[in-house]
Amino acid sequence: MNTYKRPPIIEAAIEIRFSDQLSEKEVDKLAKQLKPLYPLETPEIGLEVMLHMSSGVTQSLNKETKLGYKLQKDNFEELLLIHIGKVAVLRQAPYPNWDTFLESFKTVWSALYKTSGFRKISRIGLRYINRIDVPISDNTDLINISDFLTIGIDCPEKLHLDGYQASMLINSYSGNIGVSIRTATVASPLANHASILLDQDLFVEVDLPQKSDGIIEKLNEMRVIKNDIFESTITDKSRALFNREIV
């Protein structure tokens, strides 16, 4: 497993979806329990708009539904989504390490057990969004994507693309673990850089473990596969960029 001085991860997420939704009361209880750790709270509201048209008259009915909460840590680095149908822990850069990130999830999962008891799950998701920032000189804004990624699109040399996006889906990459990979060019937040996105979304939807230990074990397994896929989709030029000293 490679560790980098400038890991390109801009966001990491662990998401668990439930077969049986949480009640509004359970969502409130869980949010209250986790508030000391995630003090910044924003309710998540869904808006349903219905349009009735008859005899040339249009009536609209709006219905607001409370979906759950978005809770954040003081520094906005970690975010927790508690919805009636899912819980998700999201980590913004700088990414600490897997153990720290997984520990955050374990805390949330244990709080869920304490407040709501056993809940049958329907999906485990592990997502890592990476951005490769490539320095470019003032004179050129062209980069060769294949210098940095081993996946993408192939096109004639005379076509100078302004941007692209491609996505790939492998339903059973390893056992019951599926993978969706998306890569695209994105506007760089840094001047004189070009940026490429590499988004890995691993998921399990069949033969799901239901006990906590099994879920953690599956997440560890997904993480190994995520790293393996990541290393196979980047080139040494990308590795060199991630290993530059921070000055």
């Binding site: 991860i9 801009i10 906005f76 850069a93 700088p94 920032d133 001047a191």
Partner: protein
């Protein structure tokens, strides 16, 4: 008719007051006890103030979040201390205690411009951040003799002013341009040492 719930912020022991008020602020459908309370207190202003306080807190919170998340998007390129220093300064500029009605929220577009500049000069020294009347972020660096002030305008533009501290802050140089040309301008004018580490 709109129903309001109001709790006196200054006196936590004060019981909650519930009443209804029409759009013109006329109180009706309240108990005599409550009516007496409202007659003795400025009910409309209290609601407006309470709403304004909530609105300000929410706006400050949202603005802090937007800026910190923007920083996090390039956090892998920053030294931890530099990032933390920026976080501290954002917290100070947008703190509920320090924020007055003359202050402005920070333009996300302007702040993104400052972070773009970081891409040009990764060895940048931690600047002192201020907010202009237009809500733009402005950065200042000082050395023994020079004060360098750069305001990051929307649309990736900048405005800079250089003054000599030993000549009573006499302005020597002013310039406006696109962020991509900022470093060239600063290097050409031998200001590199003021804002960047060797």
């Amino acid at each position: 008719m709109t129903q309001f719930f109001y709790q006196s912020k200054n006196d936590k022991k004060e019981s909650a007051k519930v009443g209804t008020m029409d759009f013109f602020g006329t109180i009706s459908s309240v108990s005599n006890e409550t009516k007496k309370y409202y007659q003795e207190n400025d009910w409309t202003s209290a609601i407006q103030n309470s709403f304004q306080e909530w609105f300000d807190e929410q706006s400050l919170f949202n603005n802090k979040g937007e800026l910190k998340i923007l920083i996090s998007k390039i956090a892998m390129h920053m030294k931890e201390d530099f990032r933390k220093d920026l976080f501290v300064q954002i917290d100070e500029l947008l703190s509920e205690e320090n924020f007055t009605e003359d202050d402005n929220l920070i333009s996300v577009d302007s702040f993104a411009g400052f972070l773009m500049f970081f891409g040009l000069v990764p060895k940048i020294k931690t600047p002192s951040l201020t907010v202009t009347h237009e809500g733009n972020i402005a950065t200042s660096w000082l050395d023994e003799t020079v004060r360098l002030h750069v305001e990051f305008l929307p649309n990736r533009l900048f405005r800079t002013a250089v003054s000599r501290r030993d000549l009573g802050e006499k302005e020597l140089l002013g310039h406006q341009g696109s962020i991509k040309s900022l470093e060239t301008f600063l290097v050409r004018n031998q200001l590199h040492k003021v804002y960047a580490n060797e």
